[in-house]
Symmetry: C2
Subunit: 213 residues, 2 copies
DNA sequence: ACGCTCCTCAGTGTATACACAGACGGCAGT
DNA sequence: ACTGCCGTCTGTGTATACACTGAGGAGCGT
């Protein structure tokens, strides 16, 4: 693996996991020494991060970690609703029903995973990821998939803010199952509506757990 | 201006204007010599182009100019309809009616510009750009605006394929005026519908002029 | 003659040296 | 004491040298 890839992955993780807080300046020499590489691959990594919006170039002060405010979260979810709603509708039109029926059945079992503790929790996140991947594959639209991928980077960052308690995750699993069911049934409007409902509930949850900080 | 900026702008133009055809390999040494800069800023430029999707890294063969097929155009417009429809609806909710009423009035005069020849044509394109910018500003959602910007790069490339005759441009101006009117009237659903209609007509025009090649 | 192996070389990946611009602090003048 | 100017210095922008990998061809062996 290239040094620039490692630097990119390391910095991306540090930002997403909030080890590098918003406003932190990422000086080239400092970071290149920290990561044990030279400035050239580091610049490549910073360039990619900036393209994704995780960092911004602040004039001649180098690049700084982008801030995420509450208004940003609203905007983020507004775009997310648009893209994922469309994606769910397209998946209902073009996807393979059997795939989503299978996912629906697995999602119905999710509460057991969630209440099962650590490894079960990880298994649930993996299952939710499989649903996302299945939708991505079903829409057969690389531009839309690309737009959703670039959005998910920011979403993971937001998700780290909210404490994902078991109650919310159980409800989310049921909402995911409803989406999978609508897609499996080949009902685009229902799939879009189910996605809208799910995203609004997620946003409410994030806001409730985050505002009293 | 930085050398990497110039390299980026030059390569971007070359790709958009089809002087660099899809499949062309952009070797670092070759391009850096052609543009009269060193490899370091060129790599930065190529990195940005790849992030935008205008080029892709093909293993160890360097980066190649991305291809655009007819299916890509369908996918492109599918995403564009989603994003610009939502943007128009948001603009109708949040935008300043006077701004769009003014744009509508100007767009009604557009046929005279279009039939006026060269400079008038340029003035029309500038006017259409002003409508896009006004919508961008009105939605007050940086993530959505960012997604639309990254999409427009590819759209410009497609537009170069289609011969924009006066008849199509006149019709497009009327469609733009309808969008501006709906936004000025504060009617989100109408604004979205007008956008959908406009994009479908644009897509049909591109396909008709391009397929018999 | 065909195939395998090794060599060469083109091209990217990385490191580092140099250039230059912006900022901060000190010093002097008022 | 305050303000304006200049020097220094940190940090990015650029160029270039070196390293390494992968591909292609030539040569030798069978």
């Amino acid at each position: 693996m290239r040094a620039s890839d490692r630097a990119y992955a390391a910095l991306r993780d540090d930002i997403i996991e909030w080890r590098l807080l918003p406003g932190t300046v990422l000086a080239e020499v400092e970071q290149s020494e920290r990561l044990g590489i030279s400035r050239t691959p580091l610049r490549e990594a910073l360039s990619r991060l900036t393209a994704e919006g995780l960092t911004t170039t602040a004039g001649s002060r180098g690049v700084v970690v982008t801030d995420i405010s509450l208004e940003d979260i609203d905007e983020l979810f507004e775009l997310r609703e648009t893209l994922e709603g469309k994606a769910a509708a397209l998946a209902a039109e073009r996807g393979d029903p059997a795939t989503f029926e299978q996912l629906r059945l697995e999602l119905l079992q999710a509460p057991e995973l969630i209440n099962g503790g650590g490894p079960g929790l990880h298994a649930y996140y993996e299952l939710a990821g499989r649903l996302d991947a299945a939708i991505d594959a079903a829409i057969s639209n690389s531009y839309l998939a690309q737009a959703m991928r670039s959005l998910r980077v920011h979403l993971v960052r937001v998700r780290r803010l909210a404490a994902d308690d078991a109650r919310r995750l159980t409800a989310a699993a049921a909402e995911h199952a409803a989406i999978a069911e609508a897609i499996a049934a080949g009902n685009p409007r229902l799939a879009e509506a189910a996605t809208t409902v799910h995203l609004h509930r997620s946003l409410s949850h994030v806001k409730v757990t985050h505002t009293p900080h």
